[in-house]
Amino acid sequence: MATNEVKVLGSWPSPYAMRPRIALNLKSLTYEYIEEKLWEGKSELLLQSNPVYKKIPVLIHGDNKPICESLIIVQYIDEAWSSGPSILPSDPCERAVARFWAAYLDDKWFPAVKSIGVAKGEEAKKAAIAQVEEGLALMEEAYDKCSKGKGYFGGDEVGYLDIAFGSFLGWLRVTEKFNAMKLLDEGKTPGLVKWADRFCSHAAVKDVMPDTDKLAEFGKFVIAKIRAAGAAAEMH
């Protein structure tokens, strides 16, 4: 493989795998996308290029530069191809704010979204939903501050926090569908509702955002697996 070729190992339902692809699209970079069918076993290339976690996404630049962890990959893309449009804000304070919210989404908010699907009992489910809604209220406020009246967290153009948050929209919509509820609501989070539509129809995003129905089918398959594993564990 030539020294400047880029490969991305990903999996279509994974929000994390979307992130490097959006970043590469923003920089108008071509790359080879390799779909890992994780439920069928991990490829040799994946195990070799991410021996520590054995997870997607992985970006491989040239012959010998694997980069792992989706947000680290996005920052790498921004820095390695610095002549393209900037993904991280240029101001260090704004960068710290973008990184803070991306970490919050990954560490606290999205786990709460996932827990709605597998919550045991009404109380647990309600608590998870409350946490998700609280997070969305925070993100609405963050959007107001970061966008400064423009269309994205990054301002005029899709940026780091747009990518970090927007990649979760597919699963957020699936959760809304499964639970017959609206989490992104025009009444409560009007800015985010418009932002979500804008983000999903952006040229760099629309071909990598999975179709909600297809994701919902996959979601049922995953939840069934988790429940089966839980039941099996309880039987021992």
Partner: protein
């Protein structure tokens, strides 16, 4: 307090706080250190970190920055000319961030399990803890520091846990040095620098603190 002043809200045994102390010391930045009582958090802490309500919080130009890895990168970007912590090459930066993130994901939680659990659970935690340290030793290789010839981002992120090693060893009844001699040699090398030795509390003090916590939480 002037707007240019740097304030750090911290808690003396926190390895996360120590990272920020090291970064500020490396950059020779004067700052006001404010010790927080975590059972009685100050209004300032709650105002500056309303989401997580946790230390460390770095306040500069009146604006808060939270989360230690973000703070260390911020410090590196605001004061880029002295002691750069992240490398300049994008790929090397990605590698440094990866290992910093690895330390964050693994070391604190595993260390915590070592001193809070017993029996099989503790043995499993010790085993995984050592495996993680060995991976880090592999990444260090023959370099003086993770940052190469100079102390860098990963060094600042990892070395605070060295102040907790004695406590882990006593509680877990094992020797980290026996399993990971290269890593201990690296830690001692870091401790020769003022920026590190003045930022880390004494290992005995941390052990006393752990014993106190065990009493408070009713852990044997």
């Amino acid at each position: 307090m002037g707007d240019e002043d740097v304030v750090l809200l911290d808690f003396w045994p926190s390895p996360f706080g120590m990272r920020v102390r090291i970064a500020l010391a490396e950059k020779e930045i004067k700052y006001e250190y404010k010790e927080e009582d975590l059972r009685n958090k100050s209004d300032l802490l709650l105002k500056m970190n309303p989401i997580h309500k946790k230390i460390p919080v770095l306040i500069y130009n009146g604006k808060p920055v939270c989360e230690s890895l973000i703070q260390v990168q911020y410090i590196d970007e605001i004061w880029p000319h002295k002691s750069p912590l992240l490398p300049t090459d994008p790929y090397q930066r990605a590698i440094a961030r990866f290992w910093g993130d690895f330390v964050d994901k693994k070391i604190y939680d595993l260390g915590r399990k070592v001193w809070t659990t017993k029996g099989e659970e503790q043995e499993a935690a010790k085993k995984e803890f050592i495996e993680c340290l060995k991976l880090l030793e592999g990444e260090l290789g023959n370099k003086a520091y993770f940052g190469g010839e100079n102390l860098g981002y990963v060094d600042a992120v990892l070395v605070p846990f060295y102040s907790w090693f004695y406590a882990y060893e006593k509680c877990g009844n094992f020797s980290i040095e026996r399993e990971c001699p290269k890593l201990i040699a690296w830690a001692k090398r870091c401790m020769e620098k003022d920026s590190v030795s003045k930022s880390l509390p004494d290992q005995d003090k941390i052990y006393d603190f752990v014993l106190h916590l065990k009493k408070v939480f009713g852990i044997e």
